[in-house]
């Protein structure tokens, strides 16, 4: 039996740790000064794929659309153990927000020429205003799919996955390959790649570039405006030393009868 081939789709997103401001047009965030990082759910997806690789000898191919700082993300994925890295160019060149349907169209255009068994990607991204990538790509490719997945095991041409619902419940499903999986969390925390190894992969190069013709925007809606939510309330901030603040908190809890001492 040939090795299972897993494609992991990665995406750069604004780092939410930073302050985001609306752009001057008011329909996007101001992208000039923000840092872009790998979508954290995609990092989980990559980890789960690498775990499947370790268990089965699968081949892992990471793919990303051309985006801010995406090379760094692809080299890091290689350093973590991905076998190949592909950058889809010719899209998102505007540098602005690209809707998920367009991303899915670009990815599907590349995937259609590929032989793969599993597409694993993050269950969601912080900017998927028009829906999440896994289900949209699966819809385009006509493949079975599952989102909010917390483990993937591959055996005998099928994936046994665990899909999480609310209140700690989850369902075990068996899905024939090829299939698309949206990962919420990998079975273990995403691994780190040592800087030295990332440097090595960068020096070796090895990102394959593939040009795909950019489709027209496909979300089917117009963003009228993007704005920070109006704060309806804000906490009363407690200031002073740790001792002072702790005393206030104890007092608040005592008023509710939650501290006896």
């Amino acid at each position: 039996m040939t090795a299972v081939r897993i494609v992991v789709a990665l995406k750069q997103v604004p780092d939410l740790v930073e302050e985001l401001e609306p752009s001057p047009e008011g329909t996007d965030v101001d992208r000039e000064y923000i840092t872009f990082v790998l979508n954290e759910f995609d990092d989980q997806a990559l980890e789960e794929a690498l775990l499947v690789k370790e268990a089965t000898g699968a081949e892992v191919v990471v793919v990303a659309l051309e985006d801010s700082d995406v090379d760094q993300t692809l080299y890091t994925a290689l350093a973590k153990g991905a076998d190949r890295a592909v950058k889809v160019t010719g899209a998102g060149a505007s540098g602005g927000w690209l809707d998920t349907h367009s991303r899915a169209a670009l990815l599907a255009a590349w995937l259609e020429g590929q032989d793969f068994d599993l597409l694993i990607t993050g269950v969601q991204a912080p900017d998927d205003l028009d829906g999440q990538l896994p289900a949209i790509v699966a819809g385009r490719l006509g493949l079975p799919h599952a989102s909010v997945v917390v483990s993937v095991e591959v055996k005998d041409g099928a994936a046994r996955i665990r899909q999480e619902f609310s209140a700690g419940r989850s369902a075990v499903l068996e899905v024939p390959l090829p299939a698309v999986v949206g990962v919420q969390a990998a079975r273990q925390a995403p691994r780190y790649a040592p800087i030295s190894r990332i440097r090595q992969t960068m020096q070796a190069g090895g990102i394959e570039e593939v040009a795909v013709e950019a489709p027209p925007p496909a979300s089917g809606f117009t963003i009228r405006r993007l704005y920070p939510p109006e704060k309806t309330s804000h906490a009363e901030m407690l200031t002073g030393s740790a001792g002072d603040v702790a005393a206030r908190i104890v007092e608040l809890l005592r008023a509710k009868g939650l501290v006896r001492a």
């Binding site: 349907h101 912080p126 289900a135 046994r160 665990r162 999480e164 419940r169 068996e174 273990q188 603040v245």
Partner: protein, 321 residues
């Protein structure tokens, strides 16, 4: 039909979800304003139709493939119903089932999709949706000019009470499952219930909750000590349970548990919408986070930007650990 608003009902372990009623209440309002019907689509579990009395019409579809949720089977059934009825608007939740269905239906039914919707209105022929983006740090007002639209709504955005009605639905129609249901490739194996042996955080009066800010598993000891001193169970936000530092039974939020304690102490939790959904109903919320702009402070009653590593030991000492 042309002005109908259709809700895909969700149920798990024999119970309709709260979000189903939230969507139904909104559907009744929107359909009423446009002269259409509020339609609830119930897949599997036809015995639950009686609880969907707020709808003008309940469509049931029963088939062995719908006994348990799989994206493939649900999608086949919903797509067949949409193709026949062509509603104006379809409402789903951003739950697991909603995340699975919304995207693939938007492709199958060729309809624009807006996700993480928190506000929804019709402006003539235009659907105007307000949606959360960037972890709730921004809102996007989106206009959809289409004869068909799908919205995936964030839980808690609309009151569930508006969708609960004791009377039976005006009409219940059975929809014959499409042939595609016989060809579903995904199979349900089993439902895994949470570990019943662990403490029930939904029953606690006081919760000490910890987020990514705790930094490492070893640091948990610090908050465990405080929780012990207060006689409160330790809860957590998603990153902490995803990392396996605490069991899933301790997770507060959309994908975890909804809690409503008398007091909730949040340490190192930034307050992603996923988390806020599970705890914003607590009577008293006190949050500690070094980022003064963290969204947790918008729902907290009291807050501090002290480092949790300074505050927590002090608290433990003062409550007598």
């Amino acid at each position: 039909m042309a002005n109908d608003v259709l809700v895909v009902a969700e149920h798990l372990a024999g119970k309709l979800t709260d979000t189903t009623f939230e969507l139904l209440g909104k559907a009744v309002q929107l359909a009423g304003a446009s002269g259409g019907q509020a339609v609830a689509l119930l897949l599997g579990a036809p015995e639950l139709a009686g609880e969907l009395g707020a709808a003008d019409l309940v469509i049931t579809c029963d088939h062995p493939a719908l006994a348990h949720f799989t994206a493939e089977a649900y999608e086949a059934a919903v797509a067949a119903v949409l193709a026949e009825r062509q509603p104006r608007l379809v409402l789903l939740s951003t739950t697991t089932a909603g995340l699975d269905l919304a995207g693939s239906l938007s492709v199958a039914w060729d309809a624009p999709l807006v996700s993480y919707v928190v506000g929804l209105d019709a402006d003539g022929d235009t659907v105007v949706a307000t949606a959360q983006i960037y972890g709730g740090k921004m809102l996007a007002e989106v206009a959809v000019e289409s004869v068909r639209t799908i919205c995936a709504v964030t839980a808690g955005s609309f009151p569930a009470a508006a969708g609960r009605r004791d009377n039976p639905a005006a009409a219940v129609e059975a929809f014959a499952g499409p042939p595609s249901l016989d060809a579903v490739r995904s199979t349900f194996v089993e439902l895994v219930e949470p570990d019943a042996g662990d403490v029930d955080i939904t029953a606690a009066d006081l919760l000490v909750s910890v987020g990514r800010g705790i930094g490492s598993r070893d640091n948990l000891e610090l908050v465990e000590e405080l929780a012990g001193a207060l006689g409160a169970p330790l809860a957590a936000s998603r990153p902490v349970t995803d990392l396996g530092w605490l069991p899933k039974t301790r997770q507060v939020g959309k994908s975890g548990l909804k809690v409503k304690p008398r007091a909730y102490l949040a340490f190192g939790i930034s307050g992603a919408p996923e988390h806020l959904e599970g705890m914003s109903g607590a009577e008293l919320i006190i949050a500690c986070n070094t980022d003064a702009r963290a969204p947790i402070f918008d729902v907290a009653h009291y807050g501090t930007t002290l480092d949790l590593f300074d505050l927590v030991p002090e608290l433990s000492q003062q409550v007598g650990a």
